[in-house]
Symmetry: C2
Subunit: 111 residues, 2 copies
DNA sequence: ATAGCTGGTATACTCTGTTATACTGGTTAC
DNA sequence: GTAACCAGTATAACAGAGTATACCAGCTAT
């Protein structure tokens, strides 16, 4: 029981460490939803700046959560895609989207 | 489809706004697990400082996610408890714990 | 030609979450 | 009496996440 709890706090903190911050999950979600192009992802996430997107994409690529492919066509074409590992965040993202929707319902009810 | 996606990004960002940061979810988790006392909660979360715990507890109380009850015994006794609203984070927390455990498995396999 | 798209980078700055350390006042235990 | 527990607060400082704004080269459509 006690041992179990310690293990779970650890797991929780590990997860927060990986997907922490304001933008990681929205970016992962966007790419998992099929957005591949830089500007496409940018437009799909309200409020994000090119700088933050650029930085986070690099980070996610380094951590093997997404792949970046440059097609040497003209004009040059860059595509981001999620790896299988990245897709393992699916349940987390879905749970958070579900919570956010319920939350909004409650806010609306009150007003 | 497109409308749906916009709604979901919004919901996701709303959720991140509420439970964002390094400590909120671990604290909520700890209290939901039955930890009631300040030092008890503190000890249950590796790395947290009294200052951060104090601040986050105040914040969570203001947002009606937890209740703070002072029992005027001697010595004074303070108990934190989660509200029903707080418990609605259950699925999110469970999903994140599950991810963290899987993640650790993979790390161990590789080494 | 000029406005707009693509995929970004550069610079500078803010802000606040987070850490570190110390301290308080009361109670209990040895 | 002194050490340790409780429930925190005070002060200072830092690091880096995040913002704002401008800019670049290359291409396209009008």
């Amino acid at each position: 029981m006690i041992r179990n709890q310690q293990e779970e706090v650890q797991a929780l903190q590990d997860t927060i460490y990986v997907i922490g911050g304001k933008w990681r999950l929205p970016i992962i979600n966007s790419i998992c939803n099929g957005n591949k192009r830089f500007r496409e992802i940018e437009r799909s996430i309200p409020g994000i700046t090119t700088r933050m997107l650029s930085r986070e994409l690099k980070d996610l690529e380094m951590n093997k959560l997404i792949t970046r492919t440059v097609y040497d066509e003209t004009p040059v074409l860059v595509e981001y895609e999620s790896t299988d590992y990245c897709k393992s965040f699916g349940p987390v993202i879905l749970a958070m989207i579900a919570w956010g929707k319920e939350h909004k319902k409650k806010i609306i009810q009150k007003s």
